[in-house]
């Protein structure tokens, strides 16, 4: 108790200090007890302490712990990764959010003074063992397995003392002769001088600056023989003026992101932030729950990113993942950083896009001319993504649940199965024929093999077509549904349905499969599934990408979506599932059902989103359906219970 009494005062002080510390704005970005190193990318600011403790800070200055890095020698950051050269001669790559660093032993014999990370490349200021002059090399970041000195017309790559890379530009300074060069890698990956080299004396650190009147400037710190100042240098003329930004007295290093310059105090214990007043504050566009990673893009993403960067070179794309639906909801509602563009996978995301849209959380993408123009080109396959005339998301993949038929068995059974335009009644008529055949021939053929999902296709199709989550209605009470459900139960009792198992699939006439386009092989025969009534659509697994209404980067986000469904991106080959089909299928004008591909493309144009609507469907597959098949409840009770549950879930 005494202890507590003594603690009250200091605790009070600590609490008030905490409050003050969190509310006061200061130039100091990070203060540390130990010396530290730092690196800056548009996504994160990284600090590596002498003791190995490594942290990164996002655009909202939220601090996160990264794996420890001991004996760091040189560091640099690009996108969401930190690259670090250690005393032991290794390159460590730490990616934000990962639990461990990846190690790459350096094979090259270099004395490395500085590294600057770029997209898949490290620019190294180093001297080969034995030589004295420092040169700029381009190398791979995975252990410097290969490297070569930059060789650019009009620039002498020797005795370089400082380099800096930012947004496709590299500037290099030689304190020996005062040569200052600005090299661009935007058009030519080998690099090209932007302007002829200029001569500026007494500089120590340089950094790529802003563009003023079409002329790129360079920030620089003078050498410590005089009072350190931040200079703004016209890279064309070499004219040097004071940058006019608030600047701490003791400083070294000069790095930047889109918002600010960062310098370290002389003792290396304090990191200062010097805001650059550009048009926008947050310049990171986050792809939330994106399937794939920005750091290692698949061909489609790579093209979309390239298109995006052509228009927004200063915005950085990052991707991350969040699984907890509560955190996702909070982030989207709060408009928190990192919730700009959201990928939804309807079959497992706990909140389907239709409910997000209903809540007002998603933008109508038709409002964005760039998206509308691209979306119109694939308008007939994106119908399931349009709600109430508004485009909720753009497709990532759309894969319908396809039906195929065993034609050999069809002949053996001597029945003819309609290939399209048939109803569930006709389907049940087939059942009678097979039942009869089984009885006379003592065989055990199944009508349908259905193991693609937790609910049979019959119910999935009904759910997807007759539950309207947007308007909050369901139609389980219809007599027609109960009548057909009775028939379904009957064929299940007659052992004509092989459900949720892989055994004996050779004995089934029809097969339900979620077949990607490229697997529409010739040795199977696809057909259109039966329907409840004309106008029914076919259930499909859809992964799509939508735009948060609360995002501060809506224009940029919409532009990314337009790049994502651009012809260039869609026609790129992706190994998991060929996205070209979205474009090709849309291009096929007729509704011809020729061959497997014809059937597949027809289905693609007539899909309905297989939304997972909370407990409504979970109840069906976990409890109600087993009870129905075991005879514990009647089809009528099933329908009534479903209707009651639907009214509860949708009418909440």
């Amino acid at each position: 108790m005494k202890l507590y009494m003594r603690l009250i005062k200091p605790l009070l002080i600590i609490c008030s200090l905490l409050l003050v510390a969190t509310s006061a704005k200061s130039e100091t970005y990070v203060k540390s007890k130990n010396r530290m190193m730092y690196a800056v990318s548009n996504s994160y600011i990284w600090t590596v302490g002498e003791d190995g403790k490594t942290y990164y800070y996002d655009s909202q200055k939220v601090k996160t712990m990264a794996p420890d890095i001991s004996d760091a020698k040189r560091v640099s950051a690009y996108s969401n990764s930190l690259y670090c050269v250690t005393q032991q001669g290794e390159i460590l790559i730490v990616t934000a959010g990962s639990e461990e660093a990846t190690h790459y032993p350096i094979t090259a014999d270099l004395d490395i003074r500085q590294i600057e990370a770029a997209d898949g490349i490290l620019y190294i200021l180093a001297a080969e063992q034995g030589s004295t002059g420092f040169q700029v090399y381009a190398a791979d970041p995975y252990g410097i397995r290969f490297y070569f000195p930059l060789s650019i017309d009009g620039w002498e790559n020797s005795n370089i003392s400082s380099i800096a890379y930012y947004n496709g530009y590299l500037c290099a300074y030689s304190s020996e002769n005062g040569n200052l060069a600005l090299i661009s890698f935007l058009e030519d990956t080998n690099g090209k001088l932007v302007y002829p080299t200029v001569t500026v004396d007494d500089l120590q650190y340089v950094q790529v600056g802003e563009t003023a009147g079409d002329i790129i400037h360079i920030y620089a710190l003078n050498d410590p023989s005089k009072q350190i100042q931040l200079w703004d240098i016209n890279a064309l003329t070499g004219e040097k003026i004071s940058a006019g930004l608030p600047f701490p007295e003791n400083a070294m290093g000069l790095r930047r992101n889109s918002n600010a310059l960062f310098v370290l105090s002389n003792e290396g214990k304090e990191l200062y932030e010097i805001p650059i007043h550009t048009q926008n504050e947050s310049r990171t566009l986050t792809l939330k729950n994106f399937i794939g990673e920005v750091s290692s893009p698949d061909p489609r993403l790579k093209i979309a990113m390239e298109l995006f960067y052509q228009k927004y070179p200063d915005v950085e794309l990052v991707s991350d993942f969040i699984t907890d639906v509560r955190v996702l909801s909070a982030g989207v509602m709060a408009g928190a950083p990192g919730y700009d563009v959201i990928t939804v996978q309807e079959n497992w995301t706990n909140i389907p896009s239709i409910l997000m849209f209903k809540a007002g959380a998603l933008e109508n993408l038709y409002d964005y001319e760039c998206v509308k123009e691209k979306a119109d080109k694939i308008s007939d396959i994106i119908t399931p993504l349009v709600i109430d005339g508004q485009l909720v998301s753009v497709p990532n993949t759309i894969i319908p649940f396809t039906w195929s038929i065993d034609t050999e068995l069809e002949q053996r059974l001597d029945i003819s199965v309609p290939r399209d335009g048939w109803s569930w009644d006709m389907f049940f008529d087939l059942a009678a024929k097979i039942k009869e055949y089984n009885e006379t021939n003592k065989t055990n053929y199944y009508l349908i093999h259905d193991n693609q999902d937790v609910l049979p296709y019959f119910l999935k199709m009904y759910n997807d077509n007759y539950v309207d989550a947007y308007n909050g209605t369901a139609a389980y009470n219809s007599e027609e549904f109960v009548r057909l459900l009775e028939k379904w139960v009957e064929i299940c009792k007659d052992n004509l349905v092989l459900f949720r198992t892989d055994d004996g699939s050779n004995n089934a006439l029809l097969h339900v499969k979620r077949l990607p386009y490229e697997e529409t092989r010739e040795d199977i025969t696809l057909l259109l599934p039966p329907v409840f009534e004309e106008g029914n659509r076919y259930p499909a697994r859809i992964a799509s990408i939508c735009l948060n209404s609360n995002s501060p980067m809506k224009e940029e986000g919409a532009y990314f979506l337009s790049c994502w469904i651009s012809e260039e991106a869609l026609s790129s080959y992706v190994t998991i599932s060929n996205n070209g089909y979205l474009l090709n299928s849309a291009a096929v004008s007729s509704n011809a059902l020729e061959g497997n591909q014809g059937v597949w493309q027809y289905m693609l144009k007539h899909t309905v989103n297989d939304y997972y609507i909370g407990d409504l469907y979970k109840d069906q597959w976990q409890t109600l359906y087993p009870q129905l098949i075991n005879g514990k409840i009647t089809p009528l009770q099933y329908a009534q219970t479903c209707q009651r549950r639907a009214e509860m879930v949708l009418g909440e």
């Binding site: 008030s16 509560r326 909070a330 909140i351 409910l355 909370g614 979970k618 109840d619 409890t623």
Partner: protein, 277 residues
């Protein structure tokens, strides 16, 4: 109070306010300010367009059948749980009073269920009661109340017992000499003395009862039978669906009802929070 003591008390109060007030201000900042924000959200159409709609949300939601169900269910289920636990606690404490059991040594055992994570515990309940989202009203409430009793009645016992053991033995002895039986002494003398402890136990139990969502979710899912659907289900489901206005309306309504009940009860005098210092 006598003059000198009163002066001393006011001096003490002044000092207490110097350190006490900042704590209360911080509390208001951390807890009440968000509640004020919630009040604002309840009058916006959603968190995205943020347009002010006045009491439209209230009118809509107060007409929602499920919401009204949720309110009354929350009240009923919480009351059942709290009363059942309180009665258990009073009964068990009486057992302690009879001196048949050494209470001190098992007190820690009583709070043990509270520390076990719900996810492991509900597995047992699920197995015994075969609960699902179709569990009906009576079985559902029974399973839930039993779980609540198991988890929290021990805490109530501990709180009551701590009060009881501070009652001087002389009081009971005097009553015994007057010819009162054990039950009468317990109910008419001991219990009234520890009414502050009873209030504390009631408040704590009520708090836990209103947090029964996690257990209910694990037993009956996101959407239980309508008779088991509580205000927390409503809030959680709408939070996930990004309808902050519904969550806010529910919480503001909850506060309004709590305040009304509190006012009515404190007028009736049954739950008045006496201050003696």
């Amino acid at each position: 109070m006598k003059g000198k003591a009163a002066d001393a008390l006011s001096g003490v109060r002044k000092k207490a306010s110097v350190i006490g007030l900042p704590f209360i201000v911080i509390f208001l900042g951390i807890y009440v300010m968000p509640m004020a924000a919630s009040l604002l959200y309840s009058m916006q159409d959603n968190r995205f367009s943020k347009s002010f709609v006045g009491i439209k949300n209230y009118l809509n939601i107060w007409q929602n059948r499920l919401f009204l169900h949720a309110l009354s269910n929350t009240f009923i289920i919480s009351m059942i749980c709290v009363i059942a636990s309180m009665l258990t606690a009073v009964l068990i404490c009486f057992c302690f009073e009879c001196k048949g059991i050494k209470a001190n040594s098992i007190l820690a055992l009583l709070v043990l269920p509270m520390m076990l994570p719900s996810i492991a515990v509900t597995t047992i309940w699920k197995a015994v009661f075969q609960t699902s989202s179709f569990t009906g009203r009576q079985e559902g409430i029974f399973a839930l109340t039993l779980l609540f009793l198991w988890k929290y009645s021990g805490t109530a016992i501990v709180l009551l017992y701590l009060g009881l053991r501070n009652i001087p033995e002389e009081i009971r002895e005097a009553a015994q000499i007057d010819g009162a039986g054990a039950v009468r002494i317990y109910l008419q003398i001991s219990i009234p003395i520890i009414k502050m402890h009873i209030s504390l136990a009631l408040v704590v139990l009520l708090m836990f009862a209103l947090r029964l969502y996690k257990e209910s979710y694990l037993l009956f899912g996101e959407y239980p039978d309508e008779s088991l659907y509580m205000i927390q289900h409503y809030m959680s489901n709408h939070f996930i669906r990004m309808n902050s206005q519904n969550v806010s309306v529910a919480s503001v309504s909850f506060i309004a009802i709590s305040l009304t009940l509190y006012y009515l009860l404190s007028r009736a005098g049954s739950l008045r929070l006496n201050r003696k210092v």
